[in-house]
């Protein structure tokens, strides 16, 4: 399916945006610009503030200071959660339609895009974990998002299913041209998918690394090896500093 007008990527801009919950500082003020159609991965340990950064960008949290702007506004963005979060009492097709405000238009195409065209009438309970997460991806895609946010979407999947899902995410991103932000704790996954990796440490940007290389990426590609090493070194260097 050709990318429609609405499916172009949205540029994202943070200017001095930070977040504190009461006296607890979660994100220090930071500047960040993601160009339209870019693929940014945010990595970091649990509790480093990476999910808060994502929620700030999506407008689910308001910044304590600074500004966050997403081209096209919050309605241009869609979020895929760590868990599929499908309605168990709705069919697969009805679940996907949630992403289009209940409209069935485009549901079949979205299920095609995630390679589940024959599961439309199933209940979520009848699907495997990987299939459920693909339905969740279809639910996000059916709204023709200009920004797709993925909050550790593959964390609960087994290793082989993860590889399938990574390939699927990369394919729809290439086909549709939306801006993608992936939060993950898996450095290899971040480097394999993103063209830019942001390491968040204690609420600050610890590393901002561009990842080069032709797609689909091969794990043994020298650019991939180097990028993985750079991110892991940055994480370990901090470890040593403690």
């Amino acid at each position: 399916m050709p990318p429609s007008e609405g499916a172009r990527g949205a540029a994202v801009r943070l200017e001095g945006a930070g977040k504190a919950f009461g006296a607890t500082r979660v994100l220090h003020p930071m500047d960040l610009a993601i160009p339209a159609g870019g693929f940014l991965a945010i990595v970091g340990r649990s509790g480093c503030g990476k999910s808060t950064l994502l929620r700030l960008i999506l407008g689910l949290e308001t910044p304590t200071e600074g500004t966050v702007s997403v081209e096209g506004g919050a309605d241009a963005a869609r979020l895929v959660f760590q868990e599929p979060r499908l309605l168990p009492w709705a069919s697969v097709a009805e679940n996907v339609a949630v992403g289009a405000h209940g409209s069935m238009d485009g549901v079949a195409a979205a299920l095609d895009a995630v390679a589940l065209p024959d599961k439309a009438d199933r209940w979520p309970a009848q699907l495997s974990g990987g299939q459920r997460q693909r339905v969740a991806l279809a639910r996000a895609l059916v709204g023709q998002p200009r920004l797709l946010a993925l909050d550790e979407p593959l964390g609960a999947l087994d290793a082989l299913t993860r590889l399938d899902m990574q390939a699927l995410i990369e394919r729809v991103w290439v086909e549709r041209g939306f801006t993608a932000i992936l939060v993950t704790h898996d450095v290899a996954e971040a480097v394999a998918l993103a063209d830019r990796v942001l390491l968040i440490e204690d609420g600050r940007i610890g590393l901002d690394l561009a990842v080069e290389g032709a797609r689909p990426r091969h794990p043994e590609d020298p650019a991939q090896v180097a990028a993985r090493a750079a991110v892991l070194d940055a994480i370990m260097a901090r470890e040593g500093a403690h």
Partner: protein, 254 residues
């Protein structure tokens, strides 16, 4: 399920009735203590022919359903309201929890003073009895809906109305059905007591009148009818439950 497995639940009741009939026929059970099954069947036939059984059955059924609709409806509405609104819960829940601890049958003397032995008294008692199980289970059902699904609904731009229809209500439904089935048991129980103590029609009254005339067969018939009505109500609810919850693997048709 095979034919044998389908018929298996009937095995014990059928065997018990056969044993009962055999013991009665052999003279082991005096008929003025417990009449033979066949005598009960004959009593049923007699009362059907003179129109007494259909009339009383209809009256009892209407009372049960009336009380269920009033009490269950109120319990459902308040359960929904208190499940959705903290303000409404703060205003009413502690009062309701306090009233809940009173056994509703303890109110019978007061109810007779208020309403006499008319229809209102029985409707009031049944409605009061079914109110609490429906209320508590509806509230619990709404509260136990997965908060992650509610967040998903909000993130995906559902309005409050959509969130209620598509997430909260279906999520609460399994619990609401538990409340309904529990309420049905209380509904029959309350009706039996109310009709036995203060009524001039209905199955309970039929049984009490038969006791005065020492018609043990009619007394036993009344008890059997209550058992059948209770089982029937439960089966209907279970069928509704299976239909409404067919998405849930725990209720999927075997």
């Amino acid at each position: 399920m095979t034919r044998v497995e389908r018929l298996l639940p009937l095995g014990v009741p059928v065997a018990l009735i056969a044993l009962w009939q055999a013991a009665s026929s052999a003279g082991l059970i005096p008929p003025n203590i417990l009449p033979a099954p066949w005598d009960v069947v004959q009593a049923a036939w007699r009362l059907i022919q003179n129109g007494e059984l259909p009339k009383n059955l209809g009256i009892s059924f209407a009372r049960a359903m009336g009380g269920l609709v009033i009490g269950g409806g109120l319990g459902f509405a308040l359960g929904l309201m208190n499940g959705v609104s903290r303000l409404s819960e703060a205003a009413t829940d502690s009062t309701l929890q306090m009233l809940r601890t009173i056994p509703h049958l303890a109110l019978i003397p007061l109810v007779i003073l208020w309403f006499g032995i008319g229809e209102t008294a029985r409707l009031f008692l049944v409605a009061l009895g079914v109110f609490f199980p429906v209320y508590l289970n509806t509230l619990h059902g709404i509260r136990s809906v997965d908060p992650q699904l509610i967040e998903m609904g909000r993130v995906y731009g559902m309005t409050n109305g959509q969130l209620f229809r598509r997430v909260l209500l279906p999520g609460a439904l399994p619990s609401i059905f538990v409340g309904l089935r529990y309420a049905l048991g209380i509904m029959w129980l309350t009706l039996i007591v109310a009709e036995t103590i203060a009524a001039n029609s209905g199955i309970g009254h039929m049984a009490m009148k038969a006791r005065e005339f020492l018609q043990v067969d009619v007394v036993v018939l009344s008890i059997v009818i209550y058992a059948i009505l209770g089982k029937l109500a439960d089966s209907v609810t279970r069928a509704m439950e299976r239909r409404a919850l067919k998405w849930n693997p725990a209720y999927a048709a075997v």
